[in-house]
Symmetry: C2
Subunit: 317 residues, 2 copies
């Protein structure tokens, strides 16, 4: 059996330690551990990388600590529009959805789009209708709302009203989630899900549902899920650029991921991060912000999560 591996991110731009309670930090770490175990369990039973990344992202979508699903950012219209995508490195099949408003788990909808084989990307009202036809769980838009996001938007709007041009912190803006996995057959997969950023323009689509920008997977090369200011990731075709550097320039995964985060994306003065696995399941998780929610299970089966510089070992997977 080849070595299985899984990694996740819960968004770059974590808050400073003192801006959140110790309980909240501990719970967000626990939810990342739960998410990794959900995917790992599938991989251990011989399941696919595709199923594993979906299971991991579903846990993060359901957690209020991350900006995807329940806990998603609010648009300027004070509601939620969610984007997600998933890609199978074995077949290069992909599914993506954008500006979804009623589907509880957008990553499940992205997967249903992939499985349908009819299209790769579906948007808006029609995407929610497709979810309903597929029997996915539908929720009112308010299901995604948490008090934390309401408070954050209020703070943003108060700053605007007083003419204060203090930019929103990275943490207020970001928090996308994503996962990458390698299964026992050596196949890779990646998935990403997000609520975008607080006070975003309605109809705005970021990089998370864009194959090649926010998500990419190809067997024998890499699996990548990105987080940060999506507009720049789209313009730089960030996720695929890592694969292209590896395929065409012979760069190693860590060198390619480092170059994309610290040279390409950082040159635009944005917050940026990603989690990626190489063909053999080696994880990397570079970021240029104060912190990035992230975690992985080592090939020895040890679970590690982190929000800032220090790693938190969480014991055996």
């Amino acid at each position: 059996m080849a070595e299985i591996a899984i990694g996740l991110h819960g968004g770059c731009g974590a808050l400073a330690h003192d801006l959140q309670s110790a309980e909240d930090w501990a719970e967000s770490r626990q939810h990342m551990a739960d998410a990794l175990r959900a995917g790992w369990h599938i991989l251990r039973l011989g399941g696919s990388a595709l199923d594993a990344v979906q299971a991991t992202v579903v846990v993060l979508e359901d957690s209020p600590h991350f900006n995807a699903g329940h806990g998603a950012a609010l648009t300027e219209g004070a509601d939620h529009e969610l984007d997600a995508s998933i890609m199978d490195g074995a077949t290069l099949a992909a599914g993506a959805v954008c500006t979804v408003r009623r589907t509880r788990n957008p990553v499940k909808l992205a997967r249903a789009v992939l499985d349908s084989g009819r299209v790769v990307m579906l948007g808006g009202v029609a995407a929610d209708r497709f979810a309903e036809l597929q029997g996915l769980e539908m929720v009112p838009n308010t299901w995604f709302t948490t008090q934390r996001r309401i408070d954050a938007v209020r703070t943003l709007k108060e700053k605007e009203a007083t003419g204060s041009f203090i930019p929103a912190s990275e943490a207020e803006k970001h928090g996308t989630v994503g996962a990458v996995a390698r299964d026992a057959d050596g196949h890779l997969a990646a998935a990403t899900s997000t609520g975008g950023f607080n006070n975003k323009l309605e109809g705005r689509i970021g990089d998370s549902p864009i194959i090649g920008a926010g998500t990419y997977a190809r067997d024998g090369v890499c699996a990548v899920s990105c987080t940060g200011q999506g507009e720049i990731f789209i313009r730089r075709v960030a996720a695929y650029d890592i694969a292209a550097r590896m395929q065409y320039a012979g760069q190693a995964l860590d060198a390619a991921a480092h170059a994309v985060v610290f040279e390409t994306l950082s040159s635009h003065a944005i917050g940026a991060g990603l989690v990626a696995l190489g063909a053999e399941g080696n994880p990397v998780a570079p970021y240029n912000t104060l912190g990035m929610y992230r975690g992985w299970i080592t090939t020895e089966g040890q679970l590690v999560v982190a929000t800032h510089k220090d790693l938190h070992p969480m014991g055996p997977a």
Copy 2:
């Protein structure tokens, strides 16, 4: 003054010669010539490649001969949902819109999104609302409808009803338009616009509004606009793959474009084509279908268009 250049496509998968009247063929060639001249005129006056590709695409959107704007394909709901994008190779700024229903010229809306600097991609009802706020011309959805598309969808549905599984011809499915240009300052730009394909699922988003898939431009490398079955172009990150092959593997434009069309995309057994310019304005327009609407103005100022193998010189630009 550096050499200016412009090229366009009006979609791969042109009909067999005998399936359309000589007058229709002549008119579609004339509209391509008009479109090229609209962009060329801007370039000759020292205007930007970005303005030139927009002007060229607007002419093609307004022509009933192409599957973009007026003349766009019909969804399964018998209306129109339009996708477009535009990219500035000088700054890597980009604008993209998807599933637009009321904006007469989606490429103008993509440009307005680019110019706004707020986001890169806008979708659905919100995108049309943004167009309205920008003062763009709005039209009823029926403005996009032509008798040819109604007839094509009826034929498709009749085939389905009789259990006939004859696949739609490439021409029934495709017809996306796009343009690439190089201006006197050496800057590159690309733009793409489409109605998708007849009887498409509502909410379906193809590669045309995806930066890196259907459209890409980067100064010193290339400008690319694609046409064909968009799902595969998304999964293969087709437009950016050409740039990546050039930047990282040192391939020449014609080799890179040839590999992407005849190896990567053709391996999926789909119709595929593109128009691209290299850094010096040299055009390429590979396609794997019976024909592809295409045209360019040579650096000597001679205008050439084509729908099938033979080139039609149209005299000086």
